[in-house]
Homo-oligomer: 202 residues x 2
Amino acid sequence: MAPVRQPEETRMKILETALDLFHRGTFKGTSVNQIVDQAGITKGALFHHFKGKNELGYAVVDELLLGHVNEAWVEPLSTSVDPLSDLMAIINGFREEMEECAEVVECGCPLNNLSQEMSALDDEFRLRLLKLYNIWEEAIEKALRAGIDAGNVKADVDPLVMSKTLVALLEGCIGMIKVNRTMEHMMIIGAGIRTVLDSMKP
Amino acid sequence: MAPVRQPEETRMKILETALDLFHRGTFKGTSVNQIVDQAGITKGALFHHFKGKNELGYAVVDELLLGHVNEAWVEPLSTSVDPLSDLMAIINGFREEMEECAEVVECGCPLNNLSQEMSALDDEFRLRLLKLYNIWEEAIEKALRAGIDAGNVKADVDPLVMSKTLVALLEGCIGMIKVNRTMEHMMIIGAGIRTVLDSMKP
DNA sequence: GACTACATACCAACTGGTCGGTTTTTCTTT
DNA sequence: AAAGAAAAACCGACCAGTTGGTATGTAGTC
C-alpha cells in the first residue's frame, strides 16, 4: 500500500502548479493562495517545502525551466552537424504545438516572461535566468561550430554572435506572437526566422 | 500670475510618473499609492483624472508610448531611402543612450515590458499595444520598400516579413540586454543586428 | 520518541477604490 | 462688471478584500 504522504510528489505538484500560473499570468500577479488552491494543498505544505514565494520561483527556474531548455534545445542539438535544418525543425515543432494548443500562443515563453518581469527587480532571479539563457545559447553556438566544420554553415558566421542573436530573435518572435495572437502573423514571423537562418547557408 | 490649479499638467505628471514606475517595475507590481507618492499628488487627484488603474495604463500606452514610437522610429524613417543605414543609426543612438544611462539597460523597453506582462491578462491592453507595434512595423516596412526602389535594399527582401522580424529581433535583443546587463553582451548583440541588416544589402 | 509533513487559524501590511468635503475656476445672468 | 451658480480640481480619511507569511497543533513515518 502506498504511503499517505508523498513529499516529493507534493513538492513537484507545487512547482508545476506555480509554473503554470506564472506562465499564464505573472510571478507578482500570482498569489500563493492561488497556487495553494489550484494545487489542492494548503499554505502549510507550501511554506514547508519552500521558504517563501521567491524561493519557490527560484526552484521553478532551476528545476522545471532548466529541464525544458535541456529537453527542447540542448539534447536535440547536441549531435547536430546541420544546425540550420535542425533549428528550423525544432521551431516547426513549436509551431505545430502552437497550432494545437492556444496556451503557448497566448502566454508566450515562460523563461522570457519571468526574465522580463523579474530581472530588473531581483538579482537572484536575474542570475538564475541568465544561466539558462547561457545554456541555451551555448547549445546553439556549439551546433553552429559543428555546422561550419561540416560545411553546412557559412565559414564566416560568428557562432557566438549568431547564437545570441538567434535566441534574442526567437524570444522576440514568441513575444510578438503573444501580442498578435493570429496564425497569419505566426506564418510571417516563421518566414522571417527562415530568412535569417538561410542567410547563414554556405 | 499662474493659476493655482493646472489640471493638464497634473494629468501629465501622473502619466509620466506611472510610465516611469511601470518601466522600472511592472504594471501589476506598481501600486497607485506609489504613483501618488512619487508624483507628489493625492489619490483624489489620480482617480479624478483616470477612472482606475487600468485606464491610467491605457492612457500611458495611447499617449506617451505612442509618442515615443513616433519620435524614435516613424519620424526618422519617414523620408528614408536607405533604411539599412538609417536603422543602424537609430540603433546606435540607442546604444549610446544605454552607455550613459543604466535605466534603459536594466529596465528594457517599456512597450515590450507592458506587452509581455499584460497581453495575456487584458485584451484592452493587448489591442492598444498591438496598435503601436503595427505603427512601428509599418514605418520600417515603408522604409524598406523605399530602400528597394532606391536600390539600397536587395529586391528579393520581403518588406512585410522583414519589418516584423526586425521589430521582433530588436525587442528580443533589448530583453536579452536586460537580463545580461553587460556592455560586452551589448556589443555582441549589436554585431548580430548588423549581420541581419547586412544580409539585406544588394 | 523524534522528525517530517502537513493543516488551520491568524496576522499586520497593503491593495485598488470610494466618498464626503473644500477650494478654485468657469460659466451665466443681471 | 459684479454676483451668483455650477462645475471642475483636488484632498484625505476610510473601506472591504487580499497579500505574503507565521504560529501552533496534529497526524503519519522512520
